[in-house]
Symmetry: C3
Subunit: 316 residues, 3 copies
Amino acid sequence: MFVRGLLDSPVVQKTLTELTERLLASYRQTGGINHLDGKNLPSRHAIALIVQDVLRVLCPGFFSDRVIHSSEVALETATLMDSVAGRLEREIFKSLDYAPPAGTNRALAGTLARQITFEFLEELPTVRDLLGTDVEAAYNGDPAALSQDEVIVAYPCIEAIAVQRIAHVLYRKDVVLIPRIMTEWAHGRTGMDLHPGARIGSHFFIDHGTGTVIGETSIIGNRVKMYQGVGLVARSLSAGQALRGQKRHPTLEDRVTVYAGATIMGGDTVVGAGSTIGASVFLTHSVPPNSLVVNEEVRVKVMEKKRASAALDFQI
Amino acid sequence: MFVRGLLDSPVVQKTLTELTERLLASYRQTGGINHLDGKNLPSRHAIALIVQDVLRVLCPGFFSDRVIHSSEVALETATLMDSVAGRLEREIFKSLDYAPPAGTNRALAGTLARQITFEFLEELPTVRDLLGTDVEAAYNGDPAALSQDEVIVAYPCIEAIAVQRIAHVLYRKDVVLIPRIMTEWAHGRTGMDLHPGARIGSHFFIDHGTGTVIGETSIIGNRVKMYQGVGLVARSLSAGQALRGQKRHPTLEDRVTVYAGATIMGGDTVVGAGSTIGASVFLTHSVPPNSLVVNEEVRVKVMEKKRASAALDFQI
Amino acid sequence: MFVRGLLDSPVVQKTLTELTERLLASYRQTGGINHLDGKNLPSRHAIALIVQDVLRVLCPGFFSDRVIHSSEVALETATLMDSVAGRLEREIFKSLDYAPPAGTNRALAGTLARQITFEFLEELPTVRDLLGTDVEAAYNGDPAALSQDEVIVAYPCIEAIAVQRIAHVLYRKDVVLIPRIMTEWAHGRTGMDLHPGARIGSHFFIDHGTGTVIGETSIIGNRVKMYQGVGLVARSLSAGQALRGQKRHPTLEDRVTVYAGATIMGGDTVVGAGSTIGASVFLTHSVPPNSLVVNEEVRVKVMEKKRASAALDFQI
């Protein structure tokens, strides 16, 4: 109310015009954070909708408010596939047009976008098989889980891992931007930052998962289990972009368990099969199979009773 | 543009039909991640809307864009209660139909759903009382807080704890799926994974909270304070589902403070009243009242000045 | 179906009326979590929309589904500025009306709201310059980054840092509630809790970022890099609200790197320029420039092969 009328006044309009002019001058001066007259970037919003439809294809009947009957699933799936194919092809075209893969050029982008879309859809049954092992691992690994249905409906790791496996298919086909936009969509929803480049085996379970990070060149074996806040990360080398493409993140062999908040660093670091890494460990070198890796014992100091509240003041 | 016309071509349609056929074959072969011809699962979307309306009932006037006057609060509350009651009963019915509690059967689901809905609504004043102590604890505990109003409007722990307390009421009545769907809704929004099974005392405060995990069988006393990334977790026993129902998560007595990233593990672990647990500690055994638990001292190594950038290369 | 008819029955209505009565009684008794007949609080929803429009102004062309041409950017920016100005002024008015800054009163709130809105818009080019250095730092610091475009479109730290820098402008002008509502909006989306009060230098990069917390009175130099789960936090003093306004959070000088899950605590704690803090470190005192700070070495114990699965049982 108090605003409406005044904003139309000549003085206010003059000020707003000046403020806009400053911004336009800033657009002309500052390079990196403008995107004007450029190529179309893939749309975050369109990709979010595509990912959700692909999840529906992977786990039919789970993300709908009503029961789906066998008799209708064929028609529903055909309709969904048709819709996903068209929309995904459009986004892949933008991506190829933005950064054509080596050995191709923009003229081929249309043909290539269609081909990659079909190859992607062709791999969905394989992705489903892997995802089925992840659901099984979550159910078997968590005594709090009631049923595999509950795992799919309520465990955020299923969504995060499914999206990583979907994005990984496109990553392997040298599509840029889209895979990362997909996993960042899941990152925002689940707190799990699983890079599309990571190679992840079957029966993978991340319990709770908020803050867990798996870097681009990580390799993870079968039946690996990890918790919230675990990081498979790279050394922060001053070399920066010079390391692009090199293996910078660790390898976890089969049946490794990593507890909450542990950080495992470096492209040469290999955690041997069957090993367990304790919470908050910072591991920067390889360990042999069946290792148990923990921090030094904690110090426990019992304060006098009258100092109980002072203990909260926490002067170490 | 380039996609629209071509998708209608016979060749593309043939390919899409084949790809759909592969998926349908996969649905027939892979069991666990289909939900066809089954019972109706509770709807995640409907439950998210119910939770938001219950939050409005708990903190009247806070989640509306205009001031609510005392004269209208009676009518608004009655309308909201009416709406919540009908929708919640429908979701509880689906849950009881999916997994009837011991000693009941599907025929009783309808009657039981109504009864549980009323019992749930009856407990809301008690939940409000507890939540009021949580708001008080957040305000008193955080010098950055301006007022209790700001705490309710801007502190994510209030939303996460409120939803846990709501879900806990249904959990105690043996309703499955819905409580976990509720807390996972809050987990996605706040990064706090507070299991509906946990028993939590009054004046509970989680500052920042992203990545904090409280497991199903945790017991937390009064006036406990914790920070982001804290985990009250279970041992990852190979026994898995065999442990269902056992106490697997720790007990924190009154006035315990747990700093960021600390992990406390195991159903037998009891942290005595008035204790303080330092950041990144991994505690797997009990400690007496008034304990101060910290990691060993960190090592500090000062590099030569010219090695400053090399220090970033971080070869430990 | 089973619900619809019955809810209209007199018995059910009587019960619902009684349950509503209990709540109304609770509203009368419990103070802190009601907001009735009070002043209008700033709207979380309106502020979320304002923030998104300011992000569009800062990075033109990035958050739109189509290419923006130079010829139209002047008109688009003017329209956006006009719309933001009106809506922001309205929210700032509510904030000043709720808590008038020292030396002013409610009668001045209207004039002051307009003035602060204009001062805010005037600073946007400066915020853009800083944000440009952050994008540059993210691209240079991460070998996984394809281009600065990808950084803006897909890296959550850009959103989190941009919102902090926006909110910081209002924080410095003594506007309450709105800055925190802004950063909590970003916190919910990115898992990064960057308080609007923190003073942050140029070229700031937070990789992954989920669970990272930067407290109100933190001071961060130029070219600082940090990872997920890092906390710049205050001691949990029993003094609580008595510490309001004091420096409670640490200072990081230029070119400091902090690895995942490290917690740095206390207002007197200064991390000297060029230092590196290892993962999971809990640092409660100052360290000189060029320090390398790490935890004690981890213990590695290799179990016999047949004990591999028992290692998962993890008895330390």
